[in-house]
Structures are given as C-alpha cells and as structure tokens.
Amino acid sequence: MNNRKTEIKVGSNLEKVLASGQFCCTGEIGPVTYSSFDNIDKHAEEMRGKVDSVNFTDNQTAVVRLSSWAASLRLLQLGMEPNLQMVCRDRNRLAMQSDFLGAYAHGIRNVLCLTGDHQAFGNHPGCKGVFDLDSVQLIYMLKRLRDDGCFECGAECKVAPKFFIGCAENPFGDPFEFRPIRLEKKVNAGADFVQTQCILDMERFERFMELCVERGLHDRAYITAGIMPVKSPKMARYMQHGVPGMIVSEEFCQRLEKAEDAKAEAVQLSVEYINHCQEMKGVAGVHVMAVAWESIVPSVVEKAGLLPRPTF
C-alpha cells in the first residue's frame, strides 16, 4: 500500500507516481561488458510503458561494464526515465559529484546510492577499492547539493543538481535488528525512496517491514520491495548458499524445484510476492530486477495487475 500523498521535490516520473499515492513499479537493466547499447535498446522497448523508471547498475558485482551514466543517458534519448545507480567502490567524492553535475545537466533525475560489492568479487580483484564515502555519506552529499546548493566541501554550486535520492537496504543482511536503524540513518541523511534487496524470503521481509513501520520510516521515505524472478531452481539454490547477504527460503527453492515449468513458476512466485507487498503496510511499490532475464519483466508486471502504468 502506498496511499501517501506528498509534495513533489524533484518531479521525476518515479517521484510523481509515488507522491500521487500509487503503487510504483520499476525495472532494471544490467549494462553489458562490451561497448554497445544493443541490450539496453532491446530491453527498453520491452519495458516501455510497463515500468515507471529503469535502474542501471553500476559495474555490478565489480565487473567492468558499460557505465551506468552512459546507459541512463541512452534511455533518456529513447524517451524513458532512468534511475542512475552509483556505488562508493569506484569513485571518490570528486568524481561522484562531477558525474552528478553531468547527469543532471543531461536530464537524469533519479539516483540510487549504494556501497557496492567488494572489488574482490569482480574481474579486477587487485584494484584499489575507493570507498572514500560510504552510502550514507553519499546520500547526505546529494541532499546537500540539492537542498543547500553546496558541494561536499561546502563551496557553493551555482546550478545544483536536484535528484530524487534513492538508497537500498538489505533486510537479509545482519545484524538483523540493525537493518531498520541503518535505513533510518539513510532516511535521516536524505533518502527519498528505498529499493530493498530482492525478497526471496517473505517472512523475514515482513518482520523487517514491521520494524520499519514501528520507526515510522514508511512515512518519511517511499519503501519499495525488491522482486526477483529466479529462472531456475539451480540459481535459487546457488543464491541460497553462495551469495553473501542473501536469504532464500526453503519454500521458494522447493516450489521452483517441484514445478514442471520452472520459468512459469518463477513468474508466478514474483506475481504472488508483488500482490502480497501491495497489501503490506508501508510498502510503496516494487522494484523488479530480473538479472539476466530482463525480457520477463513485462509479463510479471502484467500478471501482477500493475498495468497500465500511470502517466502525468
């Protein structure tokens, strides 16, 4: 449920959907590891009219990919709304702010601030991780740019970028009781909306949301739930054991394993989770991230009854 009507700060489509009290639905495209827009053009067409904005991951899993910035710009040129992801691993505050100036000047309005996977996971494990700022400090820097018109150093920025500021939170990380507090730190720092880590264990997510609602976080930021269609039981099991910071429920794995058509079951699970989130207190929308399976997003969204998307 969203139902929360608030003032518009920035005016991105995503913000308008959320501020109008409607349940938002966003998508995600992982840029490729070579110099081409082909996958973006393809998936953008699939998602056109089906999602309110599209995230572009920033060197996801610490593997070199086409930059989130360039991908976002491409989507703008295609007449759709991007959500620029930015991790703390690859840039210091200088490079980040410079990218924000450029991104805003080009018309990008949504940013998602993340810590970033450790470089040890990627294809350049010997590189120097930057982590000049952490994600909370990054959010605060963006808020000051927008609301106070000044850079991190305090100097004035003549034409300051005004972003709709997003953050992530992982209800499946530990210590569990600290996760809502960490989210509160991000909201205090200036986060307007939240996209959670993908939910593959609904029970734990429910407990997380209860704690968030107790703290009143849903009244101060739009909390959107991460939904991931998982193509195969093998992948679900891998995420259950091999991906740090993820919890995949036994039920989720077994349903995929027992299904005759695992892909159809994956869509069904996502649809059920979305519909469940629609009923949950404090959840303002869903973020559908179909990693390496972007083309499935439209049918998930449609089956969940989220179409047509609002227009303004």
Binding site: C88, R89, R93, T115, G116, D117, H118, A120, F121, G129, F131, D132, L133, D134, S135, V136, Q137, Y140, M141, E152, A168, E169, N170, F172, G173, D174, P175, F178, I181, R182, E184, K185, N188, A189, Q197, P244, G245
Partner: protein, 222 residues
C-alpha cells in the same frame, strides 16, 4: 606492531647477485617480535645467502648486525663500521627502517628483505591481524574500540554493508565483519545508540603528501 613477512631467499639472491660483500641488517623492534627481522632471522638469511652463492661457485661475504631500531637515527649510526665496508645492505626492518637506513647510508644500495604488511595484533602463535591503518583521526570512541577503517573490508563508517551475514564479511567467510563485532560490542556496553549516530565523511589526511608530526615542545628543547 608493524607486521612484516620475509621475502623469498630467491628474490633476495637476485638483488644481491652483483655483489661480493654485503651486510644483512636486523632490527630488535616489531620485526623481532613478529619473527622476521631480528638477530636470529638475520643469521638465518645470511647463511642461506652464503650457502647458495657457495653452491654457485660465486662466494660472497655476508656481515650481520642487528640494532635497537632502524627507524631511529640514534641507533642507525651503530651500523657505521660494517656499512662502510660493504657494497650493499639487505635490511630486514619494516619499510620505514629500510628507507631510513638507505637515506642515512647513501650512496650504499639498500634492499628490502621483507614485505611490510600492516599494523596488527598478535592473535596467536604465528597469527597476526590488521587492527589499525593509522588514519590520523581515530574513531574508536564511536565504535566500541573496534576499528572500522582497518577491519571493515570497505572502511565503512556508518554500519555494515548489505553483505554482512552471520557475523562474517562478504569478502570471505573466514573474515569477521567488523561492523557486526562493533554492533555486538556496543550492545554489550549498552551503547547501541552510537550505531544510529551519523559519522560524517572522513578527512583522509592524504592531501598534503606524506604526513608529518612535529611536537613543538620537544623540538624547542633541543
């Protein structure tokens, strides 16, 4: 202490290949405690070099000496007699000692016999772990006495990243998540409110080149 690891004899033999008479210089400081650069290790390396060169039919004379601290000029002068006599020096001190020795005994070439690793604690026999990065602005008061700069793989200041699970760091299951440790410690201390406190962006203090500390009261005395 400063924790170092010995370079391989093979690497060191390459460095000293052109010379016939060298000095292996040890230090009684940290490198003695971490069993890599004290008197005993100096003796060990010196005989390794001698034996290897003997075998090659290219003998070398290797002098040995260990001083109190190589990072202090007062003790470095003790190398004077032997240093004057050799073509090169291999130092088993940390990176600081090696550089200072090279500076004081210029133009004698000085080579590193160790890889300086980190500032760490001796957790068990033969086990050391990084505990401090000498960041220049200690935050241990805010973090229950556990350093997030050195012990969190991402040097985060506002709590654990999303990869923290069951007390372990996302980088490796054998690595404790520093922020989980901090959480547990603050909880035990009844100071969990500190976890909610915003810690602002850090001044990494690298903006003036190498850092320098001058204690005016001490310099004026001299």
């Amino acid at each position: 202490m400063i924790v170092v690891e010995n370079k391989s004899a093979e690497d060191i033999l390459k460095m000293v290949a052109p010379y016939k008479k060298i000095l292996v210089a040890g230090c009684y400081g940290c490198v003695t405690v971490c069993l890599a650069g004290g008197e005993k290790e100096v003796g060990l390396l010196a005989s390794q070099i001698r034996m290897a060169r003997e075998k090659e039919g290219n003998p070398i004379e290797v002098l040995e000496q260990t001083v109190e601290r190589q990072c202090d000029k007062e003790y470095l002068v003790n190398f004077q007699d032997k240093a004057r006599d050799v073509e090169a020096i291999v130092s088993l001190a940390c990176g600081i000692g090696i550089q200072y020795l090279a500076q004081v005994y210029e133009p004698i070439p000085v080579f590193p016999g160790v890889n300086t690793q980190f500032l760490g604690a001796n957790l068990d026999v033969g086990v050391w772990e990084e505990y401090c990065m000498a960041c220049g602005e200690c935050v241990l008061d805010k973090t229950g006495g556990i350093c997030p700069i050195a012990r969190c793989s991402k040097s985060l200041l506002n709590g654990p990243c999303g990869g923290s699970q069951e007390g372990k760091c996302e980088v490796d299951k054998s690595v404790d998540c520093a922020w989980h440790l901090i959480y547990d410690r603050l909880k035990a201390l009844g100071q969990l409110d500190k976890m909610a406190e915003y810690i602002p962006a850090k001044n990494w203090h690298r903006n003036e080149g190498p850092r320098k500390l001058v204690k005016e009261d001490l310099t004026l005395e001299q």
